[in-house]
Symmetry: C2
Subunit: 267 residues, 2 copies
């Protein structure tokens, strides 16, 4: 199966090599940034027998591939899709995007065989992801296409779910809380440690345990801390030591825990 990948960012840079390793032939990488396309191509050329082409111009997208993967920012999707449609790819080609938020229609209004292929994971350049643990949420214009998308997903993982747009959006919001906002909490914690002259590394065992606990119990059961034990004295003391947005965040999240997450016992 010959595939063109549009995008060379965090997700594309994890997904394209994983597909290449699984036997998909990546024939071309498109990125607005030539350097990004070249970096991903360098990686792919080490993984497959045939050399991958790169382009930063949508007009040069190869129209004869079997699979087109749109792994680009949501706000760039409509324009890129429109321009690829203008190239007149074959009607049998499968076009799929990897977005949690964009509807299937973004693609299906331009292509007969369209799909969504949303890997629910955080991707960062140079942080390799083991796809065998990544749930992939799929949707397609028709059952035949869905079957084909499932086959592609199965190259990477057994965790495949069919999800419609509404489920996927809710999932994306869940991911923002679970990953993006947790990570922002780590960033604030890191700044607090810097102020105390302590290294970030002292936080790592706590962060690891935080993630491990919810594998064995629900987040509500795992909740600890001053708010969970209604320790208003400590909360007041902490608020006094914080300022600006950090203080607002502490207050709001404490209120949330006090109101929604049932109190725990001592410590």
């Amino acid at each position: 199966m010959k595939a063109v990948i549009l995008g060379a960012g965090n997700l594309a840079s994890s997904l394209a090599p994983a597909l290449a390793r699984a036997g998909v032939e990546i024939v071309q990488v498109f990125s607005r940034t030539e350097q990004s396309a070249a970096r991903l191509a360098l990686c792919l050329n080490n993984l497959q027998a045939t050399r991958v082409l790169t382009t930063s111009s949508l007009k040069d997208i190869k129209p004869d591939a079997e699979l087109y993967i749109y792994a680009i920012r949501d706000d760039a999707l409509p324009e890129v899709i429109e321009q690829v449609a203008a190239l007149g790819c074959g009607g049998e080609a499968l076009h799929m995007h990897t977005s949690g938020s964009a509807p299937l229609e973004t693609l299906s209004k331009c292509f007969r065989r369209a799909a969504v292929f949303y890997p629910f994971q955080t991707f960062t350049l140079n942080a390799e992801v083991d796809f065998s643990h990544v749930p992939i949420f799929i949707e397609a214009t028709d059952d035949l296409t869905l079957g084909q998308v499932r086959t592609i997903a199965l190259l990477l993982t057994q965790n495949i779910y069919v999800a419609d747009e509404s489920q996927r959006k809710r999932l994306h919001i869940a991911g923002v809380f679970a990953n993006n906002f947790s990570n922002a909490m780590f960033a604030i914690a890191s700044e607090q440690l810097q102020r105390a002259g302590l290294p970030f590394s002292v936080l790592l065992p706590l962060i690891t345990q935080t993630a491990q606990k919810v594998h064995r119990m629900s987040p509500k059961q795992a909740q600890t801390g001053p708010a969970a034990r209604h320790d208003l004295g400590t909360i007041a003391e902490h608020l006094e030591k914080l300022g600006g947005q950090e203080q607002q965040i502490y207050q709001l999240l404490t209120d949330y825990i006090l109101q929604h997450i049932s109190p725990d016992t001592e410590n």
Copy 2:
């Protein structure tokens, strides 16, 4: 070394067995809740040769132990300490509390040899903690006592830091963000998934990766998501799907990331 542990909550229930395994003889467990004391004693009796006593009355605390560990809520500390001091324990006994927020003076005003022994980790009943990875922050009235506290800490871990009250408070705040608030984010994510009819388990690979990434890069480098890539369209869409406190939290944390955590590249 004969030790009395005051408290039978989350921390005490992890710490006392870990010390017993390392050879400390726990002679007595105090808890206001008899059932909690009995549960911890049951566990300790399987780990050491001598049977542990339990009490729910401070007047019955044994005054002849060498070590008293106060693993209780901050707001209960002053009263418990005062009552134990009234028993007239020997002047050579070491009294240490496990709080991130309470000052050393809470103890040192009543006992000649006082210390703080703050294990920086989240503790929950039935979630075993491997202390060898837990950093322990210590402080003591004098060098001799500090040396003894270090010896006790070394029974559990190599990660021992001397930290004063101000550092410990900052550390405690960092812990609230890194653990308590991250966990609250998981709780909100879990509710979003419920609404989509999806199981919490689909979040676990993302949560694991979120924790693993900051072992290899800073939280700022690890930040992804709509706010990090300034994807205002997706942010507006998510805010529209949320209400109440969840919406406020989404807005505030998004503003924080937009302002403080530098933008990432595609996806």
